[in-house]
């Protein structure tokens, strides 16, 4: 059996793919596992020993004809078709696309042959998005910043790959030796996800006063920040490895540390892969449930505005449990203690829709919105039925119905997961005649209307127990 796994995003996501690959190898011991990554991020994957063959998408080479001559589209198409044709000739039995981007979905569709079983995003014959499996549809609807999902990407990748994770799958590298010192990563891929340099200096000053050895790590983009911290802290307890390590060397450094401190970025996932506990500074627009630490005993400190997270709070997290932090419990389903309310926000709705959870206890305002959703669905169903029966339909009303649903999803985050999933199902309607597409659209509105009704008049015992 030949399996292609696609992960053409950044190093953090590549490291998050490792557990799925490890469990895939256990599921198919004799399969030939191929792995497609970007050439510029290949280094992050090169120690993935369960992979038999690596493929590298060389974006720079593909783009270079266009960079020298903006009209030379065919030059780029020629480069692109080489790797696509080579991949297609492999006749893969399975393609597992763990990238979720439009580009990756086109690659999946182009490389798949008739016999290929596809998991994750692909394209229909008329090039619209096609999501064949429920797990990837879950990802499409519920995952992302500002959404209510609490499954880690590591778990979602494994769900899409249809594998069962075991604890052993979490660790890529196994190093032996004592653990001492703290490793800090000052940067992140985007500015909004970084903690201010002056805060880092404050924290590191406090730590060196406690006689802790601090190792600074990061890429070339972080060199300037590191130099500023070194100048401000002035201590021989500081070791500067910024811009000087490969991923494997970085893993070794992290494996020998008591703690890793850093924002939502690649090194956090390297720390996860060696079982190093983290203090994750979850600042800016990120969702730590999805991309935070996976090692038991790690802590997450959340602040939308990076300035609101003080050095003192981070310092306290190392020496005593910080009451303001989320503590990683290492469980697979949801990896964090949730400060006493496991169903807060839209997560209860997500559990209800996707995981057989009880009907959430909706507030009076939520019920009003649910009634509105039911009315909108009834209106839309009436119009769509006209299309199916070849009668005059007011398409504007259908557009208006979708607009109202979008507004509700932006207004009420408790109910948003319902509407997100409705739109995912709707986006996944395959090509067909107008009547066929109308029939499938009708089913989407019927589902949403029925869920709204169930939310207004719950019939499960659990809710009755809760009163």
């Amino acid at each position: 059996m030949k399996i292609l796994v696609i992960q053409i995003t950044r190093p953090g996501d590549i490291f998050c793919t490792w557990p799925a690959l490890s469990s895939l190898r256990r599921k198919y011991p004799s399969a030939e596992i191929h792995f497609l990554v970007r050439r510029k991020f290949y280094q992050a994957a090169q120690d993935f020993y369960v992979v038999d063959h690596f493929w590298q998408l060389d974006t720079e080479k593909i783009m270079s004809p266009l960079i020298y001559d903006p009209q030379n589209v065919n030059g780029s198409i020629l480069e692109l078709s080489k790797i696509i044709n080579d991949l297609r000739q492999q006749d893969f039995d399975q393609i597992i696309n763990l990238s979720f981007s439009p580009a990756s979905s086109f690659i999946t569709h182009l490389v798949a042959v008739d016999k290929t079983k596809v998991m994750g995003y692909s394209r229909t014959s008329d090039f619209y998005l096609f999501i064949p499996d429920e797990s990837a549809r879950y990802f499409n609807a519920q995952a992302g910043v500002s959404k209510s999902n609490r499954l880690h990407v590591v778990d979602m990748f494994s769900m899409v790959a249809q594998t069962e994770l075991q604890d052993a799958d979490m660790q890529l590298y196994k190093f032996h030796g004592t653990k001492e010192g703290i490793v800090c990563h000052l940067g992140a891929s985007q500015t909004h996800k970084t903690w201010p340099v002056h805060r880092w200096s404050e924290l590191i000053s406090m730590l060196v006063e406690k006689n802790k050895t601090i190792t600074l790590i990061g890429g070339k983009d972080d060199i300037e920040k590191a130099n500023q911290v070194i100048e401000q802290v002035q201590s021989d307890k500081l070791i500067n490895l910024v811009g000087k390590t490969t991923f494997k060397e970085l893993a070794k450094v992290l494996a020998g540390a008591d703690y890793f401190i850093g924002c939502d970025s690649g090194p956090l996932h390297v720390a996860n892969s060696v079982g190093c506990k983290s203090i994750n500074l979850s600042v800016g627009m990120v969702n730590f449930w999805e991309t935070g630490p996976t090692v038991s005993g790690s802590q997450v400190l959340v602040a939308r505005n990076p300035e609101n997270l003080s050095a003192r709070e981070v310092f306290l997290s190392i020496f005593e449990k910080n009451k303001k932090s989320y503590i990683c419990d290492g469980k697979m389903m949801v990896r964090f203690d949730d400060q006493g309310n496991s169903t807060e926000g839209g997560w209860a709705t997500v559990l209800w829709i996707h995981f057989g959870g009880p009907t959430p206890y909706f507030s009076h305002l939520d019920i009003q919105f649910l009634q509105q959703i039911e009315e909108v669905c009834n209106l839309a169903k009436g119009e769509i039925t006209k299309i199916i029966n070849n009668k005059q339909c007011t398409f504007d009303l259908l557009s208006r119905a979708e607009e109202i649903l979008t507004i509700i999803s932006k207004t009420n985050f408790i109910l948003a997961p319902l509407i997100y999933y409705f739109f995912t199902e709707k986006a996944n309607i395959p090509p067909g005649t107008q009547a066929q597409v109308a029939e499938q659209t009708l089913q989407c509105f019927e589902w949403l209307g029925a869920m709204a009704k169930k939310g207004i008049f719950p019939d499960d015992a659990k809710l009755l127990e809760n009163g």
Binding site: I62, V73, A103, F106
Partner: protein
């Protein structure tokens, strides 16, 4: 090459590609060659986005 330079270089191409893919949709050209143009268009969009090859979870055009 900096991100800004790259974005600048590819901006004209991106405009042309968007026109081309729209044309392909209108003419219902669903060949493999046409799909390569769609893929290239997406790769160029990724290069010109400020986030760079990140997990661009959304932005899928729907039917």
């Amino acid at each position: 090459m900096s991100k800004a330079e790259l974005k600048n270089r590819l901006s004209t191409t991106l405009q042309n590609m968007e026109k081309l893919t729209q044309q392909l949709r209108e003419t219902k050209d669903y060949s493999q060659q046409a799909e390569l143009y769609f893929l290239l268009n997406e790769l160029i969009i990724e290069q010109t986005e400020s986030t760079d090859e990140n997990s661009s979870y959304s932005n899928h055009q729907t039917r």
